[in-house]
């Protein structure tokens, strides 16, 4: 079975803390994505990566960075968490084949106090 695993389902952090969200996929997918999901706004792309050490900004990259040192792992980093980053974060992966489908993790719900 295909699997995208996000390391933390629920996190509570304080303003100014550094936050790491980890995502691992076991499908040998080239592409990995981080989305943010907020009510009424759907999913908004933060960053995506199409290869190891390669990354591209999505629609809302401000306040976030990413790291992809290995093909199977894609990390989202909040350098200094703020309350407006309280949200659900979804990781996804796909093959590079003309918009192949996305496979999603279960999400990480982050609360910043």
């Amino acid at each position: 079975d295909v699997k995208v695993t996000q390391s933390s389902r629920y996190l509570v952090k304080r303003t100014g803390e550094k936050v790491f969200l980890e995502c691992v996929q076991d499908m040998d997918h080239e592409n990995m994505f981080w989305y943010r999901q907020d009510p009424g706004l759907g999913l908004r792309l933060i960053y995506f990566s199409y290869d190891v050490k390669m990354k591209e900004k999505g629609d809302i990259p401000e306040g976030y960075s990413v790291s992809r040192e290995k093909k199977e792992r894609f990390s989202l980093i909040l350098e200094s968490a703020s309350t407006n980053q309280t949200s659900m974060y979804l990781c996804a992966s796909s093959f590079t084949s003309a918009a192949g489908e996305l496979f999603f993790g279960e999400g990480s719900r982050l609360t910043v106090l």
Binding site: V4, N31, F33, Y35, G40, L41, G42, L43, R44, L45, F48, Y50, G58, L90, A92, S94, T96, A98, A99, G100, E101, L102, F103, F104, G105, E106, G107
Partner: protein, 112 residues
């Protein structure tokens, strides 16, 4: 720019009734279209996808969708809704650069 519109934020249907969820997209080329479902507290699961060919596509859980190029629509349908279909549904379009654009979602409630 690519965009996806789901005009219905919430829909309530009775169990056993038919369902249609609307999706309109804006995309210059031939789109790759998807419907995903999200149960509470879960990630998204693919229901069905359209890349080319037959404009009526069948998916899992008895869902189908019809691609209408002239209307820029990709509406999701199910002839008889079950209580377990209560969830949030997202329409998405994928471009040729492996990026995906999502609608804001439609929450489906199912009345007993």
């Amino acid at each position: 720019a690519q965009s996806v519109t789901q005009p219905d934020i919430h829909i309530t249907v009775s169990e056993g009734a038919s369902l249609e969820l609307r999706c309109n997209y804006s995309y210059g080329a031939t789109p790759h279209l998807f419907w995903y479902v999200q149960s509470p507290g879960q990630g998204l699961q693919l229901l069905l996808k359209y890349f080319s060919g037959d404009t009526l596509v069948q998916g899992i859980k008895g869902f189908e969708a019809e691609f209408k190029r002239s209307q820029s629509s990709f509406n999701l349908r199910k002839p008889s809704v079950h209580w377990s279909d209560a969830a949030e549904y997202f329409c998405a379009v994928g471009d040729n650069f492996n990026k995906f654009y999502f609608g804001s979602g439609t929450k489906l409630n199912v009345k007993p």
